[in-house]
Amino acid sequence: MTSRIDSAFQFEQTALGLRSARQELLASNIANADTPNYKAKDIDFASALQGAMAGVNNASLPLTTTSPAHFGAATGESVMGSPIMYRSVLQPSADGNTVDMDVERAQYADNALRYEASVSFVSGKVKDVLAALAP
């Protein structure tokens, strides 16, 4: 029974873990907005979540890019088995920094909202389990 409850929460757990890891990455990008030669990093959330749920380690399998508009090269770092990639630049700056504050702030707000949504889903599930356990 415990394992059933555990697996009921597995998806939200993984999603929350990835969301918060991504939140940290975006916070790093915002913090380093004025650091010369800093390259903005991000993860592809959808494939990261799929990989983490399937238990696949994609860290050693970087994406093949066929267009400069794709995610940049892999950084060699990984979050929960998914590679962290450099964001592709729209407007490069003279000091080698690739942080676009508008993009980062928008993504940060978006990710925060989705994190809160996940938290609400977990709370809903907890209520469901409690209802099932009630006599």
Partner: protein
């Protein structure tokens, strides 16, 4: 794994905190430059030279999180301003006084940029605090 989520969000405090420290150091240097924009002589008898901070990245973990620190404070290499003022006791043989190489306009821009970046990091910290508090309500 929820614990893992918690640790990531707590890390944001360190990351944004380091950026706030770095930006306030930058603001400090800007204040010093603006205050000394007309200091034709200092303790060593030479005019003040503008100072600039150099930021560098500090990795906080293997998951890509990175804070900021001021690695060095360098002296501005741009040429000093020469002002023609023969009455000044500091004037050289031709009547020129060497004034600090502080570019006031540049410093004002630097100040605005530093304060905006600081505000950004405050916002980031507030958001992660909200998320942490929200996480604590799971199951209530």
């Amino acid at each position: 794994m929820i614990i893992g989520a918690f640790m990531s969000l707590f890390n944001i405090f360190n990351i944004s905190g380091s950026a706030m420290t770095a930006q306030s150091q930058r603001l400090n240097v800007v204040a010093s430059n603006l205050a000394n924009a007309e200091s034709a002589t200092g303790p060593d008898g030479k005019p003040y030279r503008a100072k600039q901070v150099v930021f560098s990245t500090v990795p906080v973990n293997a998951q890509g999180g990175a804070g900021v620190k001021v690695s060095t404070v360098v002296e501005d290499a741009s040429p000093m301003k020469l002002v023609y003022d023969p009455q000044n006791p500091l004037a050289d043989g031709k009547g020129y006084v060497t004034m600090p190489n502080v570019n006031v306009v540049e410093e004002m821009v630097n100040m605005i940029s530093a304060s905006r970046s600081y505000e950004n990091n405050v916002d980031v910290m507030n958001t992660s605090k909200t998320l942490l508090l929200k996480t604590l309500t799971i199951g209530q």
